[in-house]
């Protein structure tokens, strides 16, 4: 069965304290892995797509990496405005399966 598991469920960091979020997946025929940011009461905002193991993408303080079984979202020197829920999703055929997300909180 296709499955996506994100950890930790919640993460509190001090401003400037770097860390990583994990997304483990089991899927038959991975077509792509996606990272989204979601602010409270809003729809997810697209961040990255990764297609194959070894691929990396960067955007400002965020870097996403992909292996055959998991993906990491690394956040470097985060700021309070990076506080949000980060969702990982995988595409199997035409269906996208989401994890439950990691709630990230950055304290000033």
């Amino acid at each position: 069965e296709d499955q996506v598991t994100q950890s930790p469920e919640a993460l509190r960091l001090q401003e400037g304290e770097s860390s990583s979020l994990n997304c483990s997946y089991t899927v038959s025929g991975l077509r792509g892995l996606f990272w989204y940011r979601q602010d409270p009461g809003k729809g997810p905002e697209f961040l990255f797509t990764l297609y194959s193991a070894g691929e990396e993408k960067e955007k400002e303080r965020l870097k996403a990496t992909l292996t055959k079984k998991e993906s990491f979202l690394h956040i470097t020197a985060p700021k309070p405005e990076d506080s949000a829920t980060y969702l990982c999703a995988v595409q199997s055929a035409s269906k996208i399966i989401f994890g439950s997300g990691t709630r990230l909180s950055i304290r000033p």
Partner: protein
């Protein structure tokens, strides 16, 4: 360029009633997917529409139905509402047959069933 728009933004319905939610996709997109997101959870796939046909469906009962119009806009209908149907309903649009599709989401409709 307007992104994905959903209406209404908030809705309160009584148990047993029926509801219709609406979605206009991003310009140039022909595929619309609907998701249900309970509080503290990730979005759960309901179904996807392409060329006015339901192409894929998640594990949701037949009370959940949809429609896609020739202009690619879409509706989600839920019959016989239950308290457990209270959630944020998200619409996502994408371009079909583009490999790993990158979905753009609307702001969602917050449905509360009382």
């Amino acid at each position: 360029d307007a992104g994905v728009t959903q209406s209404p933004t908030h809705l309160i319905k009584t148990r047993g009633q029926q509801v219709t939610l609406r979605c206009s996709p991003k310009s140039g997109h022909d595929t619309v997917s609907w998701y249900q997101q309970a509080l503290g959870q990730g979005p759960q796939f309901i179904f996807q529409y392409y060329e006015e046909e339901e192409r894929q469906r998640g594990n949701f009962p037949d009370r959940f139905s949809g429609h896609q119009f020739p202009n690619y806009s879409s509706e989600l209908n839920v019959n016989a509402l239950l308290l457990g149907d209270s959630a944020l309903y998200l619409c996502a649009s994408s371009i079909s047959d583009s490999g790993a599709e990158k979905a753009f989401f609307g702001q969602g409709t917050r449905l509360t069933v009382v």
